[in-house]
Symmetry: C2
Subunit: 272 residues, 2 copies
């Protein structure tokens, strides 16, 4: 077995939290397998969250109209990015798998983790307009979300008050992870752990440990290959693919739903 | 006409940006109508983005397991929240309409704006488990997203490479704005303005100015009332509502899709 490197991007304020226990379980279990595990503990690092000119050493290209994407791409090419971004780039380059561990805040990642995404997934380094989705720069890497919710699972169903979790996950799993080319593993969702007994929480950790044993060999979620979209026609689905899909009772994905019912659990389970 | 107060939460680094021009157009046009306009210019304020113990003055309740929601609720009740949060609370209380103005980063708001949401929409002040969605604390206020994209409109369609924008908007418009009770106005989307000529951009600003003239009287997007979900049964749709919906070709919303096709444009247009 070749030794793999796993980067855990971790966002909880407290070492006494359930998120910390989940992260620690991942570190232990993956090390047992011989993995090298790197943790970016964002609160502990006091990780800078905002996308500003300070992310660039030296002069910016266009001080009158600072455009973060273009400016940081140039700084990356010229080796003038802030050192904390460079550090994360190095970890990301070495990682075979990236686990994002966080409590869900407002149907999304906490701001400090969004800041990591905004600043570390630099234009040029993590994606270009040509190299994205299935042709993305990180297509040989895997990534996954592992998170706790405040709401119960029933509330995040397609007839629950929060709506289908598959919909809520789409912008992050497709728009961030799949966009950069990552093979996206099924999310690990810990439903409302604060409402559980210590024993029930320990049970959740135990099933997480079990999953971790096979995690690196899991098949990823299904996303459409980039080449079924027509670059010359606004990156819309090619007519022949659309025709082929006509017989299916479901859309292709949550986002490419083609005015059909969403494919069930497509952002939650591999192979569906 | 009673004078209304509008809060613009604005996140762009540069006064020379198109986002700045959009924000300035809103300030001008709304003032012309006699509105009081307050701008929270997040980058300019160097707004703190991370949800940490520093948001609380004095001792925290549980230093071994710091839980941001509970700790800040207590601090809010006891008047011990950080002054920058208190300042935003004051603006929010006075506002009849909140406009979030930003460039879309990674299918969502920039981290600095997510930080505003994470920190300012305090448990107790902005929501409780009882007071949410249509029974939410801000149900007499309106809110909307106004943003620029990097991608063209065709790419964010239901057969485009980024998937349906209605899906991407759901977690923010439902999970943040509707959750707090806001009446959510249709988003103002400026598709890929950097790819346009200065004249075309001016045209976009002109239609924005036109929309602003009637903005405060617009009907909001449709979200289901909270009382159609059964609190005693995991906040799932009541069977009688589900039955009533059986004849419809569409689901209720993007999130409550009931395994049917999504209602077209429901996160983009009012009255659909």
């Amino acid at each position: 077995m070749t030794s793999k490197t796993v980067l855990i991007v971790y966002a909880h304020q407290s070492a006494g939290s359930f998120n910390a226990a989940v992260k620690d379980a991942a570190v232990d279990e993956l090390k047992k397998q011989g993995c090298r595990v790197i943790v970016s503990d964002l609160y502990d690092m006091n990780f800078k969250t905002t996308a500003t000119e300070d992310d660039i050493t030296g002069a910016v290209m266009n001080p009158n109209h600072f455009c973060y994407g273009n400016e940081t791409m140039l700084a990356w090419q010229e080796g003038r990015l802030a050192s904390d971004i460079v550090d994360e780039h190095k970890k990301l380059k070495e990682a075979d798998l990236v686990i994002f561990q966080f409590p869900m805040y407002w149907f999304s990642v906490p701001a400090i983790m969004k800041g990591w995404m905004d600043r570390v997934l630099t234009l040029g380094f993590a994606y270009t307009l040509e190299k994205c989705y299935s042709e993305g720069i990180f297509r040989d890497k895997k990534a996954m979300l592992s998170f706790t919710t405040g709401s119960h699972e029933t509330m995040f169903s397609s007839n629950g008050i929060n709506g289908d979790m598959n919909v809520t996950l789409w912008p992050i799993q497709n728009g961030v992870l799949n966009y950069c080319g990552f093979q996206v593993l099924a999310p690990q969702i810990f439903w409302a752990p604060t409402h559980l007994s210590p024993e029930a929480r320990e049970g959740l950790l135990e099933s997480w440990r079990t999953r971790l044993q096979g995690l690196l060999n899991e098949a990823p979620l299904t996303f459409p290959p980039a080449d079924i979209f027509d670059k010359g026609k606004g990156f819309q689905l090619k007519p022949e693919v659309r025709e082929k899909q006509a017989d299916s009772p479901f859309g292709l994905t949550v986002g490419q739903h083609l005015e059909k019912p969403l494919p069930p659990q497509s952002q939650m389970k591999a192979g569906v």
